[in-house]
Every structure is written in C-alpha cells, then in structure tokens.
Assembly symmetry: C2
Homo-oligomer: 222 residues x 2
C-alpha cells in the first residue's frame, strides 16, 4: 500500500489513534478492499442493503437522497474523506439512504460487517472509535433538535436542509417544487421565492430548471 | 440472583437474544452491580461524568433536565425498565444530561464502562445489541428531524417536547414561563395559553404553579 493511503487510513474515523505498528497488525488480520472509481461510477444505491463499512479516502462523490415520500431529491457533494452511513449497518432497516455517484476519480477502502465485528472484538482503539462515532452523531442530532423554532423563512429553509442533509456544510442541490418546499416549512410560496431571490442576489444560491443549487450550506447559516 | 431479576436481565437491551446459559457465562466473568434505591434517592446528577451503564430493572424514576441555557426544566417519569443514557458514555462530553431521582422503590443493575468494553470484546450478541441500540436511536432522531414543520401551536408544543424529551410517551412536567415557551416555538403567548387551556379542558394537561403537567405525551400527539 502506498504511504499516503496508509497515512489516510491512520487518520480515518475508525483507526485514528492507532500507531503505525498497530495498524499494520490489524491490516495483517483483517481483509480491507481498496477500490478506485471513475466518474459516474455508482458505489451504492439508495435502499441497497448496508452490510459494508466504506470510507472514501479521496476524490469527489455526490450523495443523492430521494425522499422516501417522494417530495424532494437532495444531493450533496463531498470532496473530503468521509464514512458512508456507518449507522445504517445496524438498527431496523440496515439499508443505505443515499445513492453515491462518483464525480471525480475516487479511492475507497471498505470491509464487510463481519470484518468490522472482528475489529470491534479484537482491537481496543477502533472499538472506542466506533462507539465515539455513533454517540457523537447522536449528540449532534440532539443539538439540532433542541434548537429554537426558526423565525424567518431563510432560517426555516436552512433548517429543512440541515435536518435532511448528511452534512451541514458544502454544496447541496434540492430538487423540489417551490410550493412543496413552502408547504413543508409552512410558509407561503411568495416568501420562499423572495428568500431564494435574496440568496441568489448575494451569490449564494442558483436556480436551474427546478433545482435549487446551494453553493455552501455553511454560508447560508451566517 | 432471584429468577425474575435474571429474566429481566435476559430481556434487557444489552443482553436480549442470549440464552440463559450464555448469560450465566457472562455473569461469571463480568461484575454487575445490583442496587436498590428508595424514594428520593438520586441515582446520578446532571453533568456527572457518565462512566457507567445503568439499567433500571423495575421501579419508578423521574429524570429531570435543566436546559443548559436555563430556559426550562423538563421532567419525565419512567415506570418501565430503561437504560440510562448509554450514548453519553462516549463522544465529546461524556456526562449525564439528566438527574435521576427515585419516585418509588427501584432496582437497577449497572457496570463500569470498562466492563462494558469487556462485554463488547468477548460476546457477540451483546456487541450487536449495543450497535443496534445506538443506531436505532440515530434512526429515531433522523425520523423526527425529517418531519414537516408543525403547523398548529399544539403540534409545535408537542414537537418541542418530543425534541427535548428522552421518550415520546408518558408523563412529562415542563417548568417554563409561558412567554419563554411562546418565544421558543415562535408563537404568541395568547396562542400557547389557549392551546394549554384546550388540553386542560380535555383532561390531558394541568397547570400547577408555573409547571405544565402533561399526563401522557403520547396522548397529545393524537
């Protein structure tokens, strides 16, 4: 394995905190799949069974979610390393909630759920990392849920996006009829349209054929 | 150990799915603390370090949360077995978010975080149970976050309670000035007051010296 990839593994959420020696020892016992994907390749499909833990090492990937009730499609773009829906390997549904499509050449590393269990069983640091990961996500969601009700239409749109997105930062595309969005956040269509126009004038949002393109959700929150 | 307690352990979230033989084998290797508490005993205090996993086997316990920004105090009453904040053993803060006070004689079983790790390391079913528990909580929260904006003042109050409570059912007491609640959910004080009066007339809610008593949050959601 090339040494940059090795270092990226050492910084991955599951292996962070290990020494190189400890990681080498794990790699000798656990089978990891390294993959390279090209533009338009699909890593997983929404509703596929989630029985693998996949970590995007580098590249650019878009995650698309068709709302289960078909009210909207939300697409997010990731160009930094990230873990694909670890929390969907367990619980009631155990299915991916997004389709992941490659935007630019991407490297991933993945393991089966069984291999993940073997890591939890045998290695202390990855075990603590896994528990920390899941619990930190619970804490982030708790924090979001406990926020005050949004007052302005802008805040309501941002909250809608944050509550439905995988991450609160970066590029998002929302394919949704403006009247459906208005209905969802209990605002008038005119108010939603005016908010989008204000963002558009500030260079933060574009509208293209029924799709609202947010350049960086983090910037809208300011 | 008496046999009812043994059976309750077998049905607890961490041990469910084990045979009696497997549980006996775990109990031979892991030290569990069994405790009996009397009325007004305090199990843990809000902000105490969360370094134990405690399961309430039977009894009646109230969980009180002082909102970190001191806008309200929310109290919930539990009279069924429940696990105390397992998700707070990990992540950034690792502190309890509630104070647990005994209402009626209560039995608990608990273990240190270290013992919990030893279980994760050595036993397959509890390991899967622990992962399922945390992931199911993430799924529940996701579902709540993805709901449409509430339309009526009643729905907004219910949503406020659900988003801040440990459970969506049972008795809750909210100590909060009516104007603060109105401000939180972005409604007028008059609207909040009228909603509470309607619930009061329906026998669902009582107001006592600045405290809103909800007999069963599950009933308000209807």
């Amino acid at each position: 394995m090339e040494s940059t990839m090795y270092n990226q593994l050492l910084m991955s959420p599951l292996f962070t905190g290990l020494t190189t020696g400890e990681l080498t020892e794990i790699l000798a016992h656990i089978h990891l799949d390294f993959n390279t994907y090209e533009r338009n390749d699909v890593i997983v499909l929404q509703d596929d069974r989630c029985d693998r833990l996949t970590y995007v090492l580098r590249g650019k990937v878009k995650a698309e979610m068709i709302d289960p009730r078909h009210r909207f499609v939300l697409t997010e773009v990731f160009d930094k390393p990230f873990l694909i829906e670890a929390y969907n390997m367990y619980g009631m549904k155990q299915a991916y909630e997004h389709t992941y499509v490659i935007v630019e050449k991407t490297n991933t590393v993945s393991m089966t759920k069984q291999e993940f269990h073997s890591i939890l069983m045998n290695y202390r640091i990855p075990r603590i990392n896994a528990m920390n990961l899941l619990c930190a996500q619970i804490h982030r969601m708790q924090k979001m849920m406990r926020e005050c009700e949004a007052e302005t239409v802008e805040r309501k749109i941002v909250q809608f996006l944050r509550h439905n997105a995988l991450s609160c930062k970066g590029e998002k595309e929302l394919k949704m009829k403006m009247e459906d969005l208005a209905d969802y956040i209990k605002e008038t269509r005119l108010n939603v349209s005016m908010a989008l126009r204000r963002w558009n004038e500030a260079g933060l949002v574009e509208q293209q054929r029924g799709v609202i393109v947010i350049k960086d959700l983090g910037m809208l929150e300011k």
